[in-house]
């Protein structure tokens, strides 16, 4: 059984339902316009950054040179120095996350709609959270290095400050998503307000918060590796030093160290997070 359509029939169908066969001219024009604008912007951008083929070619040659210098990676006989710097990086990321969480907890309560029902307060606090999020932790590191001096302390502050706002927002959302039923259940069994918080709210909120914390810890380990470039402690200082004095084999070694550390931390944290989410009460 074939369903062949004669040419006449097809023509009639096309005339009866033109929108099925071709998209409206306006939509097509708009799409073409968008593509053209994107390409024009891309071309303009490439012109702006001066991306000439000869420059790319020369650069690639130099890059190949560098890669050859990087092999084999060598620890330069100061492996333990690097390892300690890596510890410093991890410590910065960890403390930064913890400090941010401690500060964000009360802010999160204030930002939650079901705790403070005033929408104006809520709105302005949330906007404030969003605004400060726009600044990268490296900029904070620059500022804190100037304010409190070089070293990992500035790095901890930078990570904490750049995370506080996001945490507050996430915590506020976690608190807003608390299920009323469990609270009512605990309360109807005769619990005091403190017990209600402990048994009705806390078990719902805590796993969510903890998994957010772990997730951000992963990200902070990544950003902590580079804070040293501006003098805020950690492995970044070693790396930028090696690159500055053209010690490419050691630079490659440090990059590999970063890769391994990040992979290990990611893996551990992902496992713990999966466990936490499994343990969290399912709504």
């Amino acid at each position: 059984m074939t369903t062949a359509i004669s040419a006449d029939r097809l023509k009639a169908l096309q005339q009866a339902h033109p929108q099925v066969f071709t998209r409206p001219l306006a939509a097509r024009l708009r799409d073409w316009g968008l593509w053209a604008a994107c390409f024009a912007l891309l071309g303009f951008g490439l012109w702006w950054i001066n991306a000439s083929p000869t420059r790319i070619w020369d650069g690639l040659g130099k890059l190949g040179f560098l890669v050859r210098f990087m092999w084999p990676p060598s620890d330069g006989g100061v492996f333990w120095e690097h390892a300690y710097a890596m510890m410093e990086t991890l410590a910065m990321a960890f403390l930064g996350t913890v400090v941010a969480a401690v500060v964000a907890l009360p802010l999160g309560f204030l930002g939650a709609k079901n705790v403070v029902p005033n929408w104006l307060f809520h709105f302005s606090l949330r906007r404030g959270f969003d605004t400060l999020r726009g600044i990268d932790s490296l900029v904070w590191a620059l500022i804190f290095v100037s304010a409190v001096g070089m070293g990992p302390f500035a790095g901890v502050l930078a990570i904490a400050v750049s995370d506080v706002m996001v945490f507050s927002k996430l915590f506020a959302e976690a608190i807003e998503n608390v299920e009323r039923k469990q609270i009512e259940g605990v309360r109807s069994a005769g619990a005091s307000p403190v017990q209600t918080l402990r048994l009705g709210v806390f078990p719902q909120v805590f796993p969510v918060m903890l998994s957010h914390l772990l997730y951000f810890f992963e990200g902070n380990v990544r950003s902590a590796t580079i804070l040293g470039i501006v003098g805020a402690g950690g492995i970044g200082l070693q790396l930028s030093d090696r690159i500055r004095i053209n010690n490419w084999d050691e630079a490659a070694f440090i990059i590999l160290m970063i890769l391994v550390t990040v992979a290990v931390i990611d893996n551990l944290s992902r496992r713990i997070r999966t466990k936490l989410i499994d343990a969290a009460p399912q709504v």
């Binding site: 650069g59 969003d130 726009g134 600044i135 490296l138 990992p152 901890v156 470039i229 990059i255 970063i258």
Partner: protein
């Protein structure tokens, strides 16, 4: 009577049993919690030791940091507001040019990285890859590209391609390729299988299947992730100037290094405003594209 008594006896012993089990369970859980707490406390103390961080230093440091930030605010008087603002933003034309450069860098970097990601993502998704080895290789490549920090790539590229935004764009592109490639591959893994079977049954080759069965389904999600990445890259591009890779970061770095306080706040405000505008625009486009926020899961 005795019967009832016996029943009460067994149930009370069962209750006692239950109580006992309950207590042991509670005790083990309490021990585990204690262990976790001790581990956590140990980690905090250890990190404080290593990172030279302690509460008294924090108490000393915070006022200093606040003084510094407060010092960057310009002196604005109501009577001479216009002139004060003009003085505060003395370099506005130059800064705006740098801001345009920053946004342009992230745009070009996102597009170039997106193209590479698109090329690699089909090989990196387990349901589409032609064979296991290719899947493994492309996944590891993407992982490498996104794990090496952007700034490290920028340091290397500044050395190879010279100072300026070109190195920055390349760094952004490389990092973007890694992270978008992973996200695209995840989108590919969630596509509906039926169109793929359809195209294959009609005799389509592998590239045809990708083009006709996978891409049309995944395109809105691709675009959405691309926009999200663009937002992130604007922030990233703003700091690449620290290592000499172009953008507004260069001038911000200079202002901070030379203690030109009002300049710092002026540039920061510009930066915050730009990222906020871009965030809000991209967010509304993303919502129109797929109707929900990617950050909150599918």
């Amino acid at each position: 009577m005795t019967h009832a008594h016996a029943l009460a006896g067994t149930s009370s012993s069962r209750i006692a049993d239950f109580e006992h089990r309950y207590q042991t369970e509670r005790r083990t859980r309490g021990l585990w919690t204690l262990l976790y707490l001790v581990l956590f406390a140990g980690a905090v103390v250890g990190s404080m030791q290593v990172s030279d961080f302690n509460p008294s230093k924090l108490m000393n440091g915070l006022p200093k940091a606040w003084n510094y930030i407060y010092g960057t605010f310009p002196t604005l008087r109501w009577e001479t507001l216009g002139a004060d603002i003009a003085e505060w933003y003395w370099g506005i034309r130059y800064w705006l040019r740098l801001l345009v450069e920053t946004v342009l860098m992230s745009f070009v970097g996102t597009v170039l990285g997106g193209v590479v990601a698109l090329a690699l993502c089909f090989f990196a998704s387990s349901n589409l890859a032609p064979n296991k080895a290719l899947c493994f290789i492309s996944r590891r490549t993407l992982e490498f590209l996104r794990t090496v920090p952007e700034l490290v790539f920028a340091l290397i590229f500044v050395y190879a391609f010279g100072l300026g935004p070109f190195a920055g764009v390349l760094a952004i592109a490389v990092h973007t390729a890694g992270s978008l490639g992973k996200l695209f591959a995840e989108v590919n893994e969630n596509v509906d299988e039926r169109p793929i079977d359809g195209v294959r049954a009609a005799g389509g080759s592998w590239p045809m299947i990708m083009r006709l069965a996978v891409v049309p389904q995944a395109l809105p999600n691709y675009a959405s992730y691309l926009l999200l990445r663009f937002e992130i890259n604007v922030r990233g591009a703003a700091v690449l100037g620290v290592v000499g890779a172009g953008g507004i970061g260069e001038d911000l770095y200079l202002a901070i290094r030379q203690f030109e306080y009002p300049d710092i706040s002026a540039i920061m405000l510009l930066l915050i405003a730009t990222t906020a505008v871009i965030d809000i625009t991209c967010e509304s486009i993303r919502h129109r594209l797929i109707g929900h926020d990617l950050g909150k899961g599918q």
